[in-house]
Symmetry: C2
Subunit: 218 residues, 2 copies
Amino acid sequence: MARTAGSDGEKTQAAIREAAVDLIARYGYEAMSMRRLAAEVGVQAAALYRYFPTKEDLLFSLMRAHMEALLESWEAARPPSPDPVAQLAAFVRNHIGFHIARRHSTHVNNMELRSLSHDKLSAILRLRGAYEKELRRILRQGAESGDFAVEDVALTAMAIIQMTTGVIVWFRPDERLSVAEVADTYHDMTMRLVGARPRRNNMREDVHVRSRDEFRAW
Amino acid sequence: MARTAGSDGEKTQAAIREAAVDLIARYGYEAMSMRRLAAEVGVQAAALYRYFPTKEDLLFSLMRAHMEALLESWEAARPPSPDPVAQLAAFVRNHIGFHIARRHSTHVNNMELRSLSHDKLSAILRLRGAYEKELRRILRQGAESGDFAVEDVALTAMAIIQMTTGVIVWFRPDERLSVAEVADTYHDMTMRLVGARPRRNNMREDVHVRSRDEFRAW
DNA sequence: GAATTAATTGAACGTTTGTTTTATTATTAT
DNA sequence: ATAATAATAAAACAAACGTTCAATTAATTC
């Protein structure tokens, strides 16, 4: 046998990508064999090589797509207002939402960096660096404007990213908490973490920003 | 050839463990072959099976040792005082110190859970659960005493653990910051995160606890 | 110094791995 | 219809994998 009825390159590629993210997230890149992946897609192993020249190229393609989607997601979510409080709120909410929606893909990006060769690793780290730079920019502007009490911008940025990305480790949909509740709680914790204080002139976003008790007076 | 001059079972086992942690942390469990590990130790692959019946048993032994060391470290560091503020301060400082000192081992424990069979995974998760339970206990007591403003104890505990464990991702000794400075900053961030407020009756630990600006009045 | 035990080697086993090659069939364009 | 192209199967490759086994030597005990 050879070409099967109804076979379509685009659909096959999409099916490969989806199955690969699932398998790598569950078993790890090294533990996923090309034959197992092919079986999941319902195809022979050799067919995979029509879409990705090597196993590592497949991994890299998945990871790059994830990072590019993350950057695009933030560009779309970034508020027009330069207000650091509103920007940080939007950043945290977008980050939480994105990572919960793409748990498996995030897992792959966090776990499989070491399986990339030098050049491909650099490319992913460059995208990651661009994303982290956005958070550092927000924290720096907030510190300069007096909205935040942040001593070490770089360290605080890492702390926030790790705390919020960590949500994928324990959060499972359809359990105790909804995505919105989780996002609310992480938003509150982040605002306290950076020492955010109430604004004198409330802006539109403040209704959202002050949604819970992060500014509660003791 | 066979037994080599000066060979000693205990030393060989220790050398295997050390080399395995390094290799697994660097390349991953699946990517580390028994032959590569043996070469690192300076021995033939067959010799490894005198100490560990299978590759997975080796991994499990390393991970269990790590978790037991973490629990022992906390038991030794836990202050006698029941004061939640002092307990949380000690917890965070011990956690940071332990994980920086054992970066590679921590990496293995965080990354290779999926390579364990069901029973071994359960054993590790049980130890991990016992450790996390300590933090939840501190947060709950602090919330009840009014020292902390924590809405969701379980969620906050995960956030703190992920934020503080994340230090191993970016921290490198002999760079910009010392371990003590990093511990100070994470301590500050944690205290703000949980909404810690100053105590009326200052205790011995408060000198330390209030070392920086986490209670700065705005 | 002989017997015993501990530590290791070297070779081998059967599987599985990522990948390549060649042939074959479905689809599309002419 | 026919030619060209896209998509896949089937078989094969050498290399690497975890693990086992028998032989061999160092250290220890008697």
